[in-house]
């Protein structure tokens, strides 16, 4: 018997094909997708790793005269201030803002996707507001709201309390920075979590409720464990994204003497003389990569048995919403409070500033309101060129990343092949690459490869498309909820791989892909470091125009442009959401 068993040929390749349903075209698509993903990430990643080890600072990393050296790492990691101030400040900042943003974001996502909260669709779009506004503009709006002397909220509170002087709120503190960063990060967490919450089969929760468990017990012992991949992925991503944030720390943190790690990157890139210190900036960015790898390793250990998290099987289910009952009003108050602080007040500041500048509010001031800033914008041909370029670049890159990331996620989850774990880590590391390094890499690559996209908007599409970490994580988390039997049944019925993907997997993965597309579209509209580096006369985008207007000292025009950027993105988000709802996602 044993001899007979040993005599049987190895059947692994056939078993893989049967398991995955991959036919020839399927293999071509998968290999092409993986190749595209590797290509998009490889140049920025290689540039980051190489640049950190190239010096001295008088030479650019790729120039003759630059050498391999550890001096960047030594300069950054032997500075005592790193351990005395920067790391402790960074830990407090990141942990504080992630804890707050995740708690608020999860609660909002659960209320919008799993309960009968009234006005869900409107809340969905309003909750995303902080994500739509360029962070620097949002930071200024919050200073305008919560500045200790003249912030609108403080003026109102002092009037109510009958006090004078400063405060009671001071945005220029660690607490102020944490709250502002959390407000800015909530939409990111929210949109990532909505995908998982939307797809979850409620039967497990219903069974728990039927068995007598309270909603809180059901939430704690059923919902959270089943959603673990869908929760962990956003948690890891928001940790890394917060760690990289430098805009709010530079506007609000530095006046509060809060020094975070990411600010060192800005510091290295703006020396008093000479060239930007790309080597120093890359050296500062390396821990983001290391932390990303470590967090991903933890994630993989926690979710290693993917079938535990399956909730979508061949059996149909109806998505039911939990009735809030007497919790409806508190839920509305909670959502309303976030929307007021995160959306309505900053929006009011922006509109006010676009009409009047940052003058304090008063009826007298209102009489001088003018649309001149908008007229100047509309009269500028660069605005229309930038608008066109922004829609094309953000839309195309979001589509590419979502599709390639989705395909990569499927490949990593459904297939077994040598190097699978390495590919998983490789795709995730893209989140640890600062935009400035990615921009430098793309610039050098397409100066060297003469395919004619340098200086065009095509180079921006390619440059933006290295951010595969988010879409891959989302796709994997979404796929974990889908039982393999759905694809196997399709293959067994004779459907080709492509047909199975298009008719079964993609529709079920709709929510994840939607979240990925919307998030990446918004990020693409806001992104300004990459287009600034790759800036040419013909590929200007709205974020670069905003930066130019800021530098010109034209606050009303900057606020007007920020308002128009929001006006551009909101319909895209609303339409995409409507399409998702109609498709029954």
């Amino acid at each position: 018997m044993a001899d007979a068993a040993r005599a049987l040929p190895r059947r692994a390749p056939v078993a893989v094909r049967q398991q995955s349903g991959l036919d020839l075209w399927g293999r071509v698509v998968v290999v092409a997708g993986v190749a595209v993903a590797v290509y998009l990430i490889a140049a920025p990643l290689a540039m980051l790793l190489a640049t950190a080890l190239r010096g001295p600072v008088e030479f650019l990393p790729f120039e003759p005269g630059a050498q391999w050296t550890l001096e960047n790492l030594v300069a950054v990691y032997t500075a005592p201030v790193l351990y005395q101030r920067i790391i402790p400040d960074t830990l407090v900042f990141v942990l504080g803002s992630v804890a707050l943003s995740f708690t608020v974001g999860f609660t909002l996502a659960w209320l919008v996707e799993r309960t009968d909260l009234p006005g869900r669709e409107a809340w969905f779009t309003l909750i995303l507001f902080p994500l739509l506004v360029p962070t620097i503009v949002l930071g200024i709006a919050w200073v305008f709201l919560m500045g200790p002397k003249a912030g609108w909220l403080n003026l109102a509170l002092r009037a109510l309390m009958g006090t004078s002087g400063e405060g009671p709120i001071d945005v220029f503190t660690m607490g102020g920075l944490i709250v502002c960063q959390a407000l800015a990060s909530v939409p990111f967490v929210f949109i990532l979590l909505t995908a998982a919450l939307r797809t979850m089969n409620p039967s497990l929760e219903e069974a728990s409720g039927t068995s007598g468990a309270s909603p809180l017990t059901t939430f704690r012992r059923v919902t959270v464990p089943v959603l673990l991949p869908g929760i962990l992925a956003p948690l890891i991503l928001v940790c890394l994204v917060t760690l990289e944030q430098y805009e709010l720390p530079s506007i609000i943190g530095v006046p509060a003497e809060v020094n975070v790690f990411s600010y060192r990157i800005l510091y290295e890139l703006n020396p008093a003389d000479g060239l930007p210190n790309y080597g120093g900036a890359a050296a500062v960015a390396l821990p983001f990569l290391v932390l990303g790898i470590a967090l991903l390793a933890v994630y993989n250990i926690v979710v290693r048995r993917a079938e535990k998290f399956v909730t979508v099987t061949g059996k149909a289910y109806i998505q039911r919403r939990l009735p809030l009952g007497r919790w409806r009003v508190p839920a509305l108050v909670f959502v309303g409070l976030y929307v007021v602080m995160g959306a309505l007040l900053p929006a009011a500041i922006l509109v006010w500033a676009s009409l009047l500048g940052y003058v304090p509010p008063s009826l007298a001031a209102l009489k001088t309101a003018s649309f001149a800033a908008y007229h100047r914008l509309f009269a500028d041909p660069n605005f229309w060129l930038a608008l066109r370029n922004t829609v094309i670049v953000a839309g195309a890159s979001a589509l590419i990343i979502s599709l390639v990331g989705g395909l990569l996620g499927w490949t990593l989850l459904r297939l077994r092949f040598p190097g699978r774990t390495a590919l998983d880590f490789f795709s995730f590391m893209s989140i640890g690459i600062p935009s400035v390094i990615a921009g430098l890499a793309v610039m050098l690559l397409y100066l060297t490869i003469p395919i004619g996209i340098y200086g065009t908007f095509m180079i921006l599409i390619v440059a933006y498309s290295y951010r595969l970490a988010v879409s891959t994580r989302l796709a994997k988390a979404g796929l974990m909820q889908l039982h393999r039997e759905l694809e196997e049944a399709s293959a067994a019925s004779g459907a080709r791989w492509m047909s199975t993907q298009l008719r079964i997997v993609l529709p079920l993965l709709r929510a994840s892909l939607f979240s990925s597309f919307v998030l990446l579209f918004i990020v693409g509209v806001r992104e300004f470091t990459l287009p600034l580096i790759l800036n040419g006369p013909d590929n200007i985008v709205l974020s670069v125009l905003l930066w130019k207007v800021f530098q010109n000292g034209d606050a009303p025009q900057a606020a007007a442009l920020a308002t128009l950027i929001i006006a551009l993105v909101i319909p895209v988000v609303a339409l995409a959401r409507r399409a998702l709802m109609r498709a029954g996602g």
Binding site: E58, L60, F62, E63, V81, I136, G139, I140, V143, F144, G147, P148, K149, A150, G151, F172, S250, I251, V254, P255, E257, V258, N259, Y263, Y267, L269, N270, P271, A272, D273, G274, L275, P276, Y278, A353, G357, Y358, V359, P360, L440, M443, L444, L447, T448, Y454, G455, L532, I533, N535, G536, P537, K548, F550, Q551, N552, G553, D554, A555, P556, A558
Partner: protein, 342 residues
């Protein structure tokens, strides 16, 4: 008397003839006319600068004096690495690079610009640098701007160290980008210890140092003084209707800016014409009129500059020789101002 006057007039004529071509004359020289004809055939010229505001005014102003040549501009903080990277790849898009002497230096070190004959534009040798590769166009001057509805000129400091007066506590804002640079420049007059001590004590005044636009901080009333700004910014704010003015404390701190022509400029004649015009008195007048940027060097026609030199206050110029020394304290000052060092 006639015998005395005639030789005097003759001497004057000789002196004038020996002087490099004056503002009104240089455009009439045959060399310049010839250059203009060649530049018109090229049809366009590309100029890059650290930010868009510094090039946006040029197309219209240049076209008014030199019609038939289109000026295209690009503004970006990281222009120098871009020029270097493109040059290494054999791609040459830019004709003229305009920046401060510190940010032009990496380009000069790589021998990317070319020397030009500035004298044909009436530019004297002391208004050039890097052995004739750069022609000076204007300066920035560090100033203290204030909200005129809440402060008066009499309230403003006459010297930089007067900013440490308790009456300014919690009233000031400043730029995280500019302030360390200014303090580093002040060290050229004060010495390193006094400059760093100034940085520490300035921090203790509660100054709100930020990368946010300071005009929004002033407009909102959160602060009433913007210290260590460059002169052109409060001028722009005032032009937009803000109630703001500025004073120039002693010692006066200047930054030097100018233009270079790239050796492999795709439009070499138009490039020379543009760079030469910008460094000429005509170009400087146009820059002052259209972009509010002023030449503050000795010999400038600007009334504010003349008043400063006439008053005898010390002036810290920005020179190629002093660049390294002037930048040496930037990092220590920045560390103190951001709370990373004491």
């Amino acid at each position: 008397m006639t015998k005395l006057i005639r030789p005097a007039l003759l001497g004057l004529a000789v002196a004038l003839a020996a002087t490099p071509a004056l503002a009104a004359d240089w455009k009439d020289s045959s060399d310049v006319k010839d250059l203009y004809e060649k530049a018109k055939k090229e049809g366009e010229v590309v100029i890059w600068a650290p930010n868009g505001r510094e090039v946006d005014w040029i197309p219209k102003a240049f076209a008014a004096e030199w019609p038939g040549i289109t000026v295209k501009g690009l503004g970006d903080n990281d222009i120098a690495p871009k020029i270097i990277a493109e040059a290494r790849a054999g791609r040459h898009e830019v004709d003229v690079y305009w920046c401060s002497i510190t940010c032009v230096q990496p380009i000069v070190q790589r021998e990317l610009p070319t020397k030009i004959d500035w004298s044909m534009f009436g530019v004297t040798k002391d208004n050039t640098a890097f052995d004739g590769m750069m022609g000076f166009t204007n300066n920035i001057v560090y100033v203290v701007a204030y909200d005129t509805k809440k402060m008066s000129e009499a309230d403003m400091p006459k010297t930089w160290d007067q900013l440490l007066d308790p009456k300014y506590k919690d009233k000031m804002t400043g730029s995280l980008f500019l302030m360390p640079r200014m303090i580093s420049a002040l060290s050229m007059k004060w010495g390193k210890d006094k400059a760093l001590d100034f940085a520490r004590k300035l921090k203790d005044t509660g100054i709100l140092l930020t990368r946010a636009p300071r005009e929004s901080i002033l407009q909102s009333g959160e602060r009433v003084i913007a210290a260590g700004e460059v002169d052109v910014l409060p001028k722009l704010w005032a032009k937009s209707g803000m109630p703001v003015k500025y004073v120039i404390p002693s010692p006066v701190v200047l930054g030097q800016f100018g233009g270079t022509v790239l050796a492999k400029a795709p439009h070499p004649n138009a490039a020379r014409l543009l760079a030469g015009w910008m460094a000429s008195k005509d170009g400087k007048k146009a820059r002052e009129r259209d972009n509010l940027e002023v030449d503050f060097r000795p010999g400038s026609d600007n009334p504010e500059a003349k008043a400063i030199y006439a008053s005898g206050v010390p002036v810290i110029e920005d020179t190629v020789e002093d660049m390294k020394a002037r930048a040496a304290l930037y990092k220590p000052a920045a560390d103190i101002l951001t709370g990373q060092a004491k």
